[in-house]
């Protein structure tokens, strides 16, 4: 894997984690159950922490700017997140479905990247494996529980329908088309193999819609809105210490 491809991959990973962590952190204080509020906030912190770990690699090993600048000073068109991670915080059903689809993907990725020839990435992948294991257990448990009443299953099914094309969009081939040894198509295969039985067993239908790719397209309004909010204070004076 050449350096350009590696940088591109790490930006995809970091931006996804930062934006989904940002969205999930918006639940802090208003989740449906007090205990869940706490659990969900921890996971948001974990995700933002993972983003920081990836940006740190980009800075220390791949010649990019320091993490705070990468997060708070890049323009929307420079971000490489999938649209899924920037979707606004709406109903709890969409939040849990996003968490499930996203964490399943991360679960699969981390298993692959733990063997990555680029050691700093492999190291981080191994280090955050435990946190990710809890995230996936959390998401899977919620998916199963919310399939058990007609009302909740219907809400969840609607959310699955809305998010599915964006979830497939997570597996967009990298710009440099050199994602070897772990190409996006096979990561998606493993992801489908992981989530399909869980969805089916819980009583959900797996949609047949196709992917919407967005990583390299013009920034979505969601991404623009999110970054404007996130970078607001830092950009008052990017040279100041905050």
């Amino acid at each position: 894997m050449n350096q350009v491809a590696l940088i591109d991959l790490l930006f995809r990973l970091a931006d996804d984690e930062l934006l989904v962590g940002h969205r999930n952190s918006e639940w802090t204080g208003v989740a449906p159950i007090i205990e869940e509020d706490i659990a969900f906030s921890s996971m948001a912190q974990d995700e933002m922490g993972h983003a920081l770990a990836y940006y740190t690699i980009l800075h220390e090993r791949l010649g990019q700017a320091p993490p705070d600048q990468l997060a708070f000073l890049r323009e929307p068109h420079e971000f490489r997140n999938a649209a899924l991670t920037a979707l606004p915080r709406r109903d709890w059903s969409e939040t849990i479905v996003r968490q499930f689809l996203y964490d399943a993907a991360e679960h699969v990725r981390l298993e692959c990247y733990a063997q990555h020839p680029f050691e700093p990435l492999a190291h981080v992948a191994r280090k955050i494996h435990g946190e990710e294991k809890y995230h996936f257990l959390h998401a899977r448990t919620w998916m199963t529980r919310l399939a058990q009443t007609d009302e909740s299953r219907q809400r969840m099914q609607v959310a699955i329908g809305i998010l599915w094309p964006h979830a497939l969009g997570m597996f967009e081939t990298g710009q440099s088309e050199q994602d070897a040894p772990f190409d996006e198509a096979s990561i998606m295969e493993a992801w489908l193999a992981l989530i399909t039985p869980i969805l089916v067993e819980a009583g959900y239908q797996v949609p047949s819609s196709t992917a919407i790719y967005s990583r390299y397209a013009a920034p979505t309004p969601d991404r623009i809105e999110l970054l404007a909010a996130m970078q607001k204070v830092y950009r008052i004076d990017p040279n100041a210490e905050w």
Binding site: I34, A44, W242
Partner: protein, 327 residues
């Protein structure tokens, strides 16, 4: 012996003692420095007072999370973003612990939440003001949490066991909040002129609500002395306010900041701080629901509660009783 519901208030069966004997035994226990546990006999006034106080505290944590959570999306730098999220999360965690304490006194969580939403239960007035800039986040975390710590370290020595235990952990976590807030304030104070101005402006706006945090001066009522005797209250509001001024005004001045009260000074002879009393009529008006953000705070809580209703309904209906094996 009979099976007793653990950690739940229950009317202890008539053991033949008169009310007076029970009260004497109860007060003797407190005088010996022992804690009152949920299953102990307690005077109804004690139970109601502790319940009101802890419920108010729990509500203050969960409502107190709201002004700060508005700034989570805007926190500059990774460190601030993570720390602010963790701090707000802690406040929610404190509400969880405190609501459990209220439950030990016989009020279910559903009722606690309902009373918050319909306005019959109160929370700390200070959260009815709006955080307008990033500096407000620092001032709130530093000084309001400092005020809370001073009060809670005292209450930790109070007589009700479950509250005292919860406060141990709460005080520990609040000390992180205070450091996080102090760090933000110091960074702004040492920063650019814009940052300093932002901080001074925040301090000017928050000073009076912060002084009001401790409540109006206690009148010397029989009520107060009973609460002190039962170790529900440990010091008067004014005494706690003095402690706060003594510990924090010098730290604020040390940063080259000013406070918007020309009367503020310490009488070095007596050690007593002089200050302008907050406008207590305004304080009462805000408590009664007419502050700048009362309606907004409750509206957000109500929305969170109503949006989550289908989720709780689904979990309640789902029948699941697997258990994790205990080794």
């Amino acid at each position: 012996m009979s099976v007793l519901p653990l950690n739940y208030y229950s009317t202890v069966e008539d053991d033949g003692r008169s009310e007076e004997e029970k009260l004497l035994a109860f007060e003797a226990k407190i005088n010996r420095g022992e804690k009152i546990e949920p299953t102990d006999w307690m005077p109804e006034r004690y139970r109601k007072q502790v319940m009101r106080m802890v419920q108010n505290h729990g509500n203050s944590e969960i409502v107190g999370a709201l002004p700060e959570r508005e700034w989570i999306p805007h926190a500059p730098t990774f460190k601030r973003k993570l720390a602010l999220t963790a701090k707000v999360q802690d406040e929610v965690g404190h509400a969880q612990l405190l609501y459990r304490v209220v439950e030990t006194l016989g009020k279910p969580r559903e009722v606690i939440i309902e009373e918050l939403l319909n306005g019959t239960a109160k929370y700390s007035n200070v959260f009815n003001y709006a955080p307008e800039t990033w500096a407000d986040v620092g001032v709130i975390a530093w000084l309001i949490d400092a005020a809370a710590i001073i009060r809670q370290l005292l209450l930790r020595e109070g007589s009700y066991g479950p509250y005292s235990r919860a406060l141990k952990r709460i005080c520990y976590e609040e000390s992180f909040h205070l450091k996080h807030g102090y760090d933000i304030c110091v960074t702004l104070a040492l920063g650019t002129s814009t940052q300093r101005e932002m901080l001074q402006d925040a301090l000017n706006r928050w000073w009076e609500p912060i002084l009001g945090f401790f409540g109006p001066p206690d009148n010397d009522s029989v009520h107060t002395s009973e609460l002190m005797r039962w170790r529900v209250k440990l010091k008067t509001n004014d005494a706690i306010r003095q402690e706060f001024l003594d510990q924090y005004v010098p730290k604020i001045w040390e940063l080259g900041l000013t406070l918007p009260d020309p009367k503020l000074c310490k009488d070095e002879q007596t050690g007593v701080w002089h200050y302008t009393e907050p406008d207590w009529d305004e304080f009462k008006r805000v408590i009664q629901g007419h502050g700048p953000c009362n309606a907004k705070r409750i509206a957000v809580r109500r929305m969170a509660h109503e949006d989550g209703e289908w989720v709780r309904r689904a979990l309640a209906a789902a029948e699941h009783n697997e258990s994790i094996p205990v080794h």
